[in-house]
């Protein structure tokens, strides 16, 4: 572009409302550049002195808080795991204890039972022996009676038949018969 066009554009921009590109009106560049530099300096100082350190601090603080929270959560998690372990251990212990108690009780009961059984067995044996004895007595008694009755009967029969019964001979005969 030729310089005279700038000048023309500049004059036209000042005179009429809007010929040409206002961007190329170099007469107001100084003004714009001045205010731009002022603006940039102000923004730079506001940002670098106040805003950015503050935001950085807030972000760092948040990061710290989050890290702490995560650490706390980890700790709680570890504690929970510990508690669970303790619980499981208690459970196992309790189970073992219960088993032990059950076994003990079982053994006790078994012992009682064994004692009772033995006692009962002994009683039964005693009773059986007694009964056997009684039976044997009875049997012996019965055999004697039978012999007596048989001898008597035989004597009677012999006497009834008109014989004179020799008591000793009859008895011997009865004995022989009974044995046979």
């Amino acid at each position: 572009m030729a310089t005279d066009t700038h000048a023309a554009a500049g004059h036209a921009a000042e005179a009429a409302s809007a010929p040409g590109m206002p961007q190329l009106d170099f007469s107001n560049w100084g003004n714009q550049i001045f205010w731009l530099l002022v603006t940039l300096v102000v923004i730079y100082f506001v940002l670098s002195r106040i805003a950015l350190p503050r935001i950085a601090a807030v972000l760092a603080e948040r990061q710290g808080t989050i890290t702490n929270d995560i650490a706390a959560a980890e700790e709680l998690k570890a504690k929970a795991a510990e508690a669970e372990e303790a619980y499981n251990k208690a459970l196992v212990d309790a189970r073992a204890e219960a088993q032990r108690i059950v076994a003990e009780a079982k053994a006790e009961i078994q012992a009682d039972l064994d004692a009772a059984t033995a006692k009962a067995d002994a009683e039964i044996a005693a009773k059986a022996a007694e009964s056997e004895k009684a039976i044997a007595e009875i049997r012996a008694g019965a055999i004697d009676s039978i012999r007596e009755v048989a001898a008597d009967t035989a004597k009677e029969i012999v006497s009834a038949l008109g014989g004179k019964a020799d008591a000793k001979a009859v008895e011997a005969a009865v004995d022989t018969r009974m044995k046979g």
Binding site: S17, Q23, N31, F34, A51
Partner: protein
Amino acid sequence: MASEAHGAEEGGLVFHPMDQFIVKPLFGGDAIGMFTITNVTLWMALAVVAVVALMVFGTSSRKIVPGRGQSIAELAYGFVYKMVEDVAGKDAVKFFPYIMTLFMFIVFANFLGLLPMSFTTTSHFAVTVVLALLVFLTVTIVGFVKNGLGFLGLFWVSSAPLALRPILAIIELISYFVRPVSHSIRLAGNVMAGHAVIKVFAGFAAIAVVSPVSVVAITAMYGLEVLVAFIQAYVFTILTCVYLKDALHPSH
């Protein structure tokens, strides 16, 4: 001049898409001196107010669990900080306030410029050229201070064949000096183009038949401009980071 043709347009169809960019003194008078308070001053001051409102008053409560304003301020901080760290490297973090200043100014100037009847400071080459030159000077000075003459290694592509290197060096040198040009014109051009197009569509709204289409088009362009306002601020900032990385680590 083309303007005569404009004024002589027949019918009610008058386009003045560039009128919105005129720099006017606020308190009367025609002459614009260096220190005259103009609409540039006003809208830059509003940008400062917006930055202060967001970054200082928004964060004044310093809450661990942030509110709305504080969230946005932290988001902006994290966004630019991450950009600087990722693109320019860890040792560029000391330039973070400077880059943050550029980003906040551009983003707020762009968004304030989208308000109806407002003046867009970033649509002026005067503004963007200064911004780009500041970046260019910073990068060049930092490059030479940090690396001494080793900074010139940026132009000496050691991976290329020896015969090609001088040619590449010239190309690199040219591209280095074109940087502030494209850097500034990209921002101002995008912003100016969007605003001018909106104004052109607004001019069409004078015709009753076309006006609904025009209104829809303005709405669509406005949406695009909101996007552009942010993306251009982002691009300006990230290119600053890229240039800064070149200055800090000039090895190709």
